[in-house]
């Protein structure tokens, strides 16, 4: 029964997206169908997650073929939790309201946009759930191709070129993953992940397995936008439409980071990944560089969107530092970081696009004193910013505590001090933004000129969106108030 519920949810976006394309360019209808689908998907993934917490994991075999031959989906606790997060982000993206979508995307392209969006959601859910190496590659490509198209559907002409570069680099990375899978298959003779985990102890010293691991890891690092390979991330996210940005920033690179966690921790295991290899040093160094470069770049930018994008790059660094510790505590810290980042960054990108629409500019020097215009949005923005910095009573604080304790356990003092330096820098860049929002540093001018009457909150931000963002922020805070329970919960998910 439960399997049927879930597979229905998985099929629903595919059906809806083909339906949207068949109905032609009716933009309101396309918007309504997509919103309805994301709501249903979210409810279904909540039910699935609850059921799996209660009754344990479920394996779904496609077409009734038993695993080493057939393809299976693994609904484990952590997988279904990430499905919940993906569908939550999709829901939040679509409750932003049709006005901002119609403002950002050309009218005749809206039905295509909605259809591609649903395919991307399916792709990411498939990436999280699949328990088959080749199926993983196919879902990575499905989600990536949809993402390239989503980046390109924007009124900003730079986005097309950014999408093209993203396509080139994304496909090269995916092909690396494919060749890695080929090496793994050549040595183990299986594509099923559970089956492979059983065979791994015998094959540990096989060169093909090591090569396959490294190639897959390299592909995933490109896809997650770790520091020297972050150029596509900056280009495509700074030029794409504001409507889709929350979805892209919270799924695309974050899901690939979850795959890195899965690869080193759940598939190959910490012993294989970290003992006698340089992986820890490489990931740690790149993580530290990403963290510092991202924070410096965010400090030097004046554009709100670019500040948030470089802050994301810095956060990617933290997550890879947590992974590079190579202990279970580090992995738990990485997952908490991912969750806190998905919650905070989705909210911040949504709020930033509303802030943009109420002043018509992303430049923070033009966003002075915006708290009078949209007080609730600014309030939510500040709380989420505090979560990025890691201020107590937000989930970002829990994530930082987890990271710092596991660094102390691993006795990595240099890295610990660099993490603290970078945290301080994140405080600085967030404060720069918040200072502009709260105070008018320009001197007084005519109030009529200060707030253009046509840009007011209800026109652009639906109350539903506001309500759900408020709720996310509440979740954010309650996670840290009950932080021991939250820690235990994540520990339970991981084991």
């Amino acid at each position: 029964m439960m399997q049927a519920t879930f597979m229905l949810g998985f099929l629903l976006p595919i059906l809806a997206s083909s339906g949207i394309l068949l109905l032609g360019s009716r933009k309101n209808l396309a918007y309504s169908i997509t919103s309805f689908t994301t709501i249903v998907l979210f409810c279904l993934s909540c039910i699935t997650f609850y059921q799996i917490l209660k009754h344990g994991e479920v394996l779904y075999h496609f077409g009734g073929w038993i695993p080493p031959i057939g393809i299976e989906f693994k609904l484990s606790k952590i997988n279904s939790f990430f499905v919940l997060l993906v569908s939550l982000v999709a829901l939040l993206t679509f409750v932003q309201g049709r006005k901002i979508l119609f403002y950002e995307v050309e009218a005749k392209k809206i039905n295509v946009f909605c259809a591609v969006f649903l395919i991307a959601v399916v792709g990411f859910i498939g990436v999280v759930l699949t328990n088959d190496f080749f199926n993983l590659y196919v879902f990575i490509e499905v989600s990536s191709i949809a993402t390239y198209a989503l980046v390109a559907i924007s009124k900003n002409r730079a986005s097309v070129r950014a999408a093209f570069y993203y396509l080139i680099i994304g496909t090269v990375a995916a092909t690396f993953i494919l060749v890695g899978i080929g090496y793994i298959y050549a040595a183990s003779g299986t594509l099923n992940i559970s089956d492979f985990i059983l065979k791994l102890p015998l094959l540990k010293d096989h060169m093909s397995i090591k090569l396959g691991f490294v190639l897959m890891l390299a592909g995933l690092l490109v896809k997650s936008g770790l520091f020297p390979l972050h150029n596509w991330f900056v280009q495509s996210y700074s030029s794409t439409s504001a409507f889709i940005l929350p979805f892209l920033s919270s799924t695309s690179s974050k899901i690939y980071m979850f795959l890195v966690v899965k690869l080193v921790f759940m598939i190959f295991g910490l012993k294989f990944s970290f003992e006698g290899t340089n992986i820890s040093i490489i990931l740690g160094t790149l993580g530290v560089l990403a963290m510092l470069v991202g924070a410096f770049a965010a400090l030097s930018k004046n554009n709100l969107r670019e500040i948030l994008i470089f802050s994301s790059i810095s956060q990617i660094g933290y997550i890879f530092i947590a992974i590079s510790i190579g202990s279970k505590a580090g992995i738990v810290a990485a997952i908490i970081f991912l969750i806190s980042n998905i919650l905070a960054k989705t909210s911040m990108f949504i709020l930033s696009s509303h802030i943009y629409l109420s002043r018509g500019s992303y430049s923070i020097s033009k966003l002075y004193d915006i708290k009078r215009q949209i007080p609730v949005a600014v309030f939510l923005f500040i709380i989420n910013g505090a979560s990025i910095v890691g201020v107590p009573i937000t989930v970002g604080f829990v994530a930082k505590v987890g990271l710092i304790t596991s660094l102390i356990e691993g006795q990595m003092w240099l890295m610990l001090s660099l993490v603290l330096v970078s945290s301080f820098m994140s405080l600085l860049y967030m404060w720069r933004v918040v200072e502009c929002f709260l105070y008018d540093k320009r001197g007084r001018i005519d109030s009529h000129e200060r707030y253009p009457a046509k840009f007011t909150l209800p026109r652009h931000m639906t109350y539903l969106s506001m309500f759900s963002l408020g709720k996310i922020t509440l979740v954010n805070i309650s996670c840290s108030v009950f932080f021991r329970e939250f820690f235990d919960f994540i520990n339970k998910l991981v084991s």
């Binding site: 490509e141 198209a149 093209f164 080139i168 092909t175 080929g182 298959y185 594509l191």
Partner: protein, 115 residues
């Protein structure tokens, strides 16, 4: 040694593809190099499927366990059918993007000194 030649060839083709992607300034040529790069990966998988002395995997008896015929491994071939389809999808999205780039910028070459 001779058995390893297909693997070297596949890696060589992939390297040619990467070189083409890095060197060419024309977007269309970049995309063609990407196709060559993917072809390298496909040849790698096809080389994996070879079983010495094996013929086409068409079984002449009903119960597979009792067949004595040596055949090539059909699975990598099937996987590569999917990979080819994925590659075609990527290339067509890339071509569509090139058309848009030409509409927006009037050319399909990289600017000197910028990205």
């Amino acid at each position: 040694m001779i058995g390893k030649i297909p693997y070297f060839i596949s890696i060589a083709i992939m390297l040619v593809g990467v070189y083409g992607i890095a060197i060419n300034k024309n977007y269309l040529k970049k995309l063609m190099s990407l196709g060559i790069f993917q072809a390298g990966a496909i040849i790698f998988f096809i080389a994996l499927a070879k079983v010495s002395g094996g013929s086409a995997p068409i079984m002449e008896c009903v119960e597979i366990e009792k067949c004595s015929k040596i055949v090539a491994n059909p699975l990598p071939h099937v996987l590569m059918l999917t990979a080819i389809v994925v590659g075609v999808a990527t290339l067509s999205v890339g071509l569509a993007l090139i058309i848009r780039i030409r509409e927006e910028y009037g050319k399909i070459e990289e600017d000197e000194g910028s990205k």
